[in-house]
Amino acid sequence: MVTCQTGVAGLVLQPPGAPWIVSAGTPKPLPSAIVREDEAQLVSAAKAGDTHAFEELVNRYERKIFRLGMNITQNKEDAEDVMQDAFLKSYQNLHRFQGDSRFYTWLVRIAVNEALMKLRKRRPNQVSLDEPLTDDGIDSVFREIEDWGPSPEKRFAQTELNEILNSVIGELDPIFRVAFLLRDVEGLSTEETAQILGISVAAVKSRLLRARLKLRQKLNKYFRRSETK
């Protein structure tokens, strides 16, 4: 099984000006492990007016929300706005949070909506949450089949690899990009991803398949064995 090993801790400094592909640092076996057991108590305390409890929630998730904003919008200023708006809105609307999902899932939902709004504002005619009518990637998958070798990413310097990953994920349609980021990079479960996006589990699986196939296809030209560096 392929699982993305995500964690709040273990983030490392990226050189200034480096491209913004953002990913996980510390191993995490299951999506649910993102949330510590005391999250519900912190949320209750914050609802009762304890600002320190809310700050603890912010400290816990700020890196992850910033990273998600960066990965969706691919822009630092937009990611900062997304993060601020997500936390301020979640604080303002905390009384509406009923606890029928995890606080983190609720927060991610707010952040994803903010990030998609940023994208729509930037490219109003290009960003749609409707399913694109383009090919699903299944029929074209066998057109480019090449062996990548054991560790194709090691053929690139870190900065160059970041540029490649940033570029290929930026080319994905936003609805596929978000599904891939939530499920494969952030390590949320398929069910949580469906809940956040307001779509069915089957739709998440379909978007995920298309995202993975598209990314594989786009990476092929960099990672195939015949591509000598």
């Binding site: 099984m1 090993q5 990226q14 912010v58 890196r63 995920l208 993975r212």
Partner: protein
């Protein structure tokens, strides 16, 4: 199982949620189909490469601005209570 069915089931297979009978069929197909084996392998590597890519930090100035904005909101809320 044919090649197209392998691709349809690829996500469930990579996520380890394919039912055992289907998994046996799929792996039997993979053992005799180089193309499908390469697709599965490169798709798995695609996910791993993104997972293992270098994380980006939250810049300190960005973090400071977030916490200043929150403190301001806390103060404003306290005044209205």
């Amino acid at each position: 199982m044919n090649c197209k069915k392998v691709i349809v089931e690829l996500t469930s297979y990579l996520d380890g949620v394919l039912d055992s009978e289907m998994k046996i069929d799929l792996e039997e197909h993979l053992s005799g189909c180089t193309d499908c084996r390469l697709v599965v392998d490169t798709c798995r590597k695609t996910i791993q490469i993104f997972c293992n890519s270098e994380p980006v930090p939250l810049p300190e100035d960005v973090r400071q601005r977030l916490h200043s904005a929150l403190l301001e909101r806390f103060r404003r809320n306290a005044k209205t209570i």
